[in-house]
């Protein structure tokens, strides 16, 4: 009886282990509607092939995202001529929240949106923000979870390393 109860408990409590996208894997396809008026209506990761891409999952309510945006913008402005691009994926429930955030902290890189949660689930993100540094061949080389002010230096070094390959 006790053993039966224990198994039942374990079965209910077992958290489904979602295998997220890891470094070394090919980046899954991604195509989402754009939030920025300057970009095409639909943006895909495939359209950025050949570039080093930092795919950034973010939300307006996430404090570290607020820290990351100005730094990412700076990195993009500095390294874009060498083939670097950022694709930000907003996961807010309401689009208006995302737009308000972008008005407050404007960025020049493309921002797409998935309010359904399907994309972050498919990528298996574990925290906000989560960034994926993808090389020119479309392989994920670095998974960056969270964001602190001091993270910019290491991230810049990683991007430069990939740009030089």
């Amino acid at each position: 009886m006790q053993r039966w109860a224990l198994w039942c408990l374990l079965a209910v409590l077992a958290v489904p282990a979602v295998a997220g996208v890891q470094a070394g894997q090919q980046a899954p396809a991604l195509s989402l509607p754009s939030l920025s008026s300057a970009s095409p209506a639909q943006l895909s990761l495939a359209s950025l092939q050949g570039k080093v891409v930092y795919l950034d999952f973010w939300a307006s309510w996430c404090g570290p995202c607020r820290v990351s945006f100005p730094q990412l913008e700076q990195l993009r402005q500095e390294l874009a001529p060498q083939g670097f691009e950022i694709l930000a994926v907003n996961v807010d429930e309401f689009e208006a929240d995302a737009r308000e955030f972008l008005e407050e902290i404007p960025v020049t890189y493309p921002v797409v949106r998935d309010g359904t949660g399907a994309t972050p689930a498919a990528w298996g993100i574990l925290g906000m923000p989560t960034g994926y540094l993808i090389d020119r061949q479309g392989v994920v080389r670095l998974v960056h979870q969270g964001y602190r002010k001091s993270d910019g230096t290491a991230l810049r070094a990683s991007i430069i390393e990939l740009l030089g390959e």
């Binding site: 999952f57 939300a59 404090g63 969270g146």
Partner: protein
């Protein structure tokens, strides 16, 4: 009877839901915090540390958004 209680417990546990990192927008709201006022938390901690020689117990770590 034991089996019935056990079944009830298991059924209750079925209601448990994992909140995914991208679903924490509502939890991250100010009104969802254990204590919304950062200044008050800091003052309470100061009083506890100086008068009671204790610290902690002022709420949960992190803001519920899973990002810290």
């Amino acid at each position: 009877m034991k089996q019935l209680i056990c079944l009830c417990v298991v059924l209750c546990l079925c209601g448990c839901e994992t909140v995914q990192p991208w679903e924490r927008g509502t939890l991250a709201k100010r009104e969802m915090q254990w204590q919304a006022d950062a200044m008050e938390i800091s003052l309470q901690a100061q009083i506890n540390a100086s008068k009671e020689a204790s610290s902690g117990g002022q709420g949960a770590a992190g803001g519920g958004c899973g990002c810290n």
